[in-house]
């Protein structure tokens, strides 16, 4: 009798835990209303990286202290943005490990790793992974050798594993997948190896490919005329950062990377669509709805792999659905996200390459700014005025917070010959670093792009920004500082020396009803609370 009673108890416990582990599409869609969790890479589908939690505010943030640290051991420095759901924190560790931590204590609950092949090629970027997706009772990860794997969120067991591209010619996955209703969206890296970029939609239950959008149009497709000869076959256009999603319009917004080769544009005359562009895709079919190219015929490696932020705001007296982006080319753009109309561009960081952005949204490029054999000094640097690290939009202040890199580079041009699986760059770059470079956190007026405040940083950052309903902006620095600024004024309110470079995005969540903030620094995840 005792024995059968024990069995009954087990069944009840399993059923209860399964019921709480479901991260439904509706939960993610309404993530802004569930601030205790962090359910998708940028916090919500609109990519606001904003937390409605307000327990930590300007009056008490000076008392913020570490609650726990988790030291990773599997590889290099972390660039991951964790997820939090139902008592667990999920994080990716380089090169290909996923770990679930008890959010209360930081103690590991499970860990999964995929061994990397000895001949793995990561051409033009570190062996990194920037995050995960959750949907239903699965956690999804993309690996450097192009496997997309669905793991059981409760145990780490593999549900399915598919390979979507070949690493031998330079493809990798570094971005967090995006989970929408029944689909997992996965982008690829490889723009420095001359891959042909694409975005895949996979069935969330099986891994089967539902559609693929090639970012470099093939013969007969619109946009193909912006290439010549066979250059499109090795044209780059990687999709290496997680995009955004509008459930009402059922449109995905995804940034596309540089054309290849990077610095020698002679071998690819034309605008080179859809490189350095934002594309809006029908989520059901993967068909292109519209595109906007920020940097036609780019020769400075200014990928548009930044976070597209979706906001509804009044422009010229009319409420519009907008997508805004602080682009790597040093201009902030406001577009209509229904049809892609260009509404405004505004310079937000030092640049020496464009006279202006004209009325159609096209840059008026200054002479003598192309790479040369001797080197051409141009701002911003190869890494851009900003990069993959996230901006944040606060609906309370209606400001966009951007981590900015003030840095110039000498750009060099060289012969470019495609060799499958090798770097295909056509030149080089030497940045003005040290005291010649600096960084900032800037608050931009959403509608005009005008700078409202500036917080100066010692060096150009590689860390993203989180804003909160507590009136704070959290950000990080290369020198290890993790800090909070007043969201309205930019005044520093708190800082903590983490002891490792901060190259990641902060998140916020609750543990037992109390607000916490997490950030990766060096090889550790740090969690702070009051």
């Amino acid at each position: 009798m005792k024995r059968s009673g024990f069995v009954i108890v087990i069944v009840i416990v399993v059923a209860a835990s399964a019921a709480t582990a479901q991260v439904s599409y509706d939960r993610i869609k309404n993530a802004a209303g569930e601030p205790a969790s962090w359910l998708t890479y940028s916090g919500n589908y609109a990519s606001h990286r904003f937390s409605a939690l307000d327990e930590i505010d300007a009056s008490n943030v000076s008392r913020l202290r570490p609650v726990w640290l988790y030291q990773t051991t599997s590889g290099g420095e972390l660039e991951t943005s964790p997820l939090v759901a139902d008592g667990l924190m999920y994080l990716s560790e380089p090169p290909a490990t996923v770990t679930a931590l008890d959010v209360k204590t930081g103690r590991p609950v499970w860990s999964w790793s995929r061994p990397m092949p000895t001949d793995l090629r990561t051409l033009g970027f570190p062996r990194t992974n920037r995050g995960l997706a959750v949907l239903g009772d699965n956690v999804y990860v993309g690996t450097l050798d192009n496997h997309v794997v669905a793991l059981d969120a409760a145990s780490g067991a593999v549900r399915w594993d598919v390979q979507i591209a070949e690493n031998s010619i330079g493809y990798c996955i570094t971005a967090a997948p995006l989970a929408i209703d029944g689909k997992i969206l996965v982008g690829v890296s490889g723009g420095e190896a001359g891959v042909r970029g694409f975005l895949d939609a996979l069935d969330a239950d099986t891994g089967e490919r539902l559609w693929r959008f090639w970012t470099i149009p093939g013969p007969g497709e619109p946009g193909h005329e912006t290439w010549s000869g066979d250059a499109w076959k090795t044209g780059g256009g990687a999709t290496w950062l997680t995009g955004s999603y509008d459930p009402e319009l059922d449109l995905l917004y995804w940034g596309v990377g540089n054309p290849a080769p990077d610095w020698n544009g002679d071998v690819r005359p034309g605008d080179n669509l859809y490189t350095c562009a934002l594309i809006a895709l029908d989520a059901k079919t993967g068909k292109l709805k519209w595109h906007f190219q920020f940097t036609p015929h780019d020769v400075h490696d200014w990928d548009a792999n930044q976070i597209p932020v979706l906001v509804d705001a009044e422009v010229d007296g009319r409420l519009r659905k907008l997508v805004v982006m602080a682009n790597r080319n040093a201009f902030y753009y406001v577009l209509d996200r229904e049809v892609g109309t260009f509404l405004l561009a505004s310079q937000y960081s030092k640049q020496t390459w464009a006279k202006e952005i004209d009325e159609s949204g096209r840059p008026v490029v200054l002479p003598s700014t192309e790479p040369t054999e001797e080197g051409t000094l141009v701002w911003p640097s190869l890494q851009g005025a900003t990069n993959w690290f996230s901006p944040s939009y606060s609906p309370k202040t209606r400001l966009l917070y951007v981590a900015v890199r003030e840095m110039g580079s000498y750009y060099y041009k060289a012969e470019a010959e495609y060799d499958a699986g090798a770097l295909f760059m056509g030149g080089g770059e030497r940045a003005l670093d040290g005291d010649e470079a600096s960084g900032a956190i800037r608050a931009l007026d959403l509608a005009t792009g005008k700078m409202v405040w500036n917080f100066q940083q010692h060096s150009p950052p590689w860390a993203g920004v989180l804003s909160t309903a507590g009136g704070l902006v959290f950000a990080g620095a290369e020198e290890g500082n993790f800090f909070a600024l007043d969201a309205s004024t930019g005044e520093p309110r708190w800082q903590f020396q983490t002891g490792g470079g901060v190259r990641a995005n902060p998140i916020a969540f609750e543990v037992e009803g109390r607000q916490h903030i997490a950030i990766a620094a060096g090889k550790a995840i740090l969690v702070f609370g009051l």
Binding site: G124, A414, D419, A422, L423, M425, G427, G428, E429, R430, G434, D435, G439, Q456, Q457, H458, A477, E479, G480, N481, F483, P492, Q495, Q497
Partner: protein
């Protein structure tokens, strides 16, 4: 030019400290040398890296022109009235305000050493930047920057004391780019003494 050294060391020598063999040299070219000013050149192809490595190796067969000075007399200049040792350490002896020179002959070429002695501000490394800080309480600290982040700065003053300052508590922070605490020895020393001193410094290879 010719790999004879400048800000970096002369490459016209049979053995290179960070590149004992071909693979190590390729790695140095691709990844740079951590903790030094040598950057990596990750953008260039494997083939180009191999070509550069072959060129660097060819320099080892170039006969280096001997330096005009006498290194023993140079040592006397260093240890004598010039006062070099009050700020610079060699093999564990000397001051710490300036760079340790124990292996400066491996790290720098003769032309760079001469410029450092004649125009110290022109070659000063960022990690020896001269900084003047004034706190809101009125205290002034002048020293060499040891470290800095967005919120704090650490200075070493002429007495060797470390000052850790919060930027929020500073009224003024002046970074004296192009200036150095080190005096110019262009007129302090004769042309012969300068040659001797350079010969001595160039001979320092970190081998006691």
């Amino acid at each position: 030019m010719g790999g004879t050294g400048g800000e970096g060391p002369s490459l016209a020598r049979p053995t290179l400290r960070h590149a004992a063999d071909e693979e190590a040299l390729v790695k140095v070219i691709q990844e740079g040398i951590e903790g030094t000013d040598m950057p990596g050149a990750w953008q260039i192809s494997e083939n180009e890296v191999r070509q550069i490595a072959a060129y660097v190796r060819s320099l080892s067969r170039v006969e280096s022109a001997p330096l005009p000075g006498d290194r023993e007399r140079g040592r006397e200049v260093f240890e004598g009235a010039s006062g070099c040792g009050s700020c610079h350490m060699i093999e564990g002896e000397g001051g710490i305000l300036g760079p340790d020179l124990s292996d400066v002959g491996l790290r720098r070429g003769a032309a760079y050493l001469r410029e450092s002695l004649v125009s110290p501000g022109a070659t000063i490394a960022e990690r020896f930047l001269l900084v003047r800080a004034q706190t809101r309480a009125g205290q002034e600290v002048v020293g060499v920057r040891v470290n800095e982040d967005s919120f704090t700065i650490q200075l070493r003053d002429q007495a060797g004391r470390i000052h850790s300052l919060s930027k929020l508590e500073l009224q003024d922070l002046e970074k004296a780019f192009g200036e150095s605490l080190m005096p110019s020895y262009g007129s302090e020393l004769s042309a012969f003494e300068l040659d001797d001193l350079i010969a001595y410094l160039a001979s320092l290879r970190g081998e006691p």
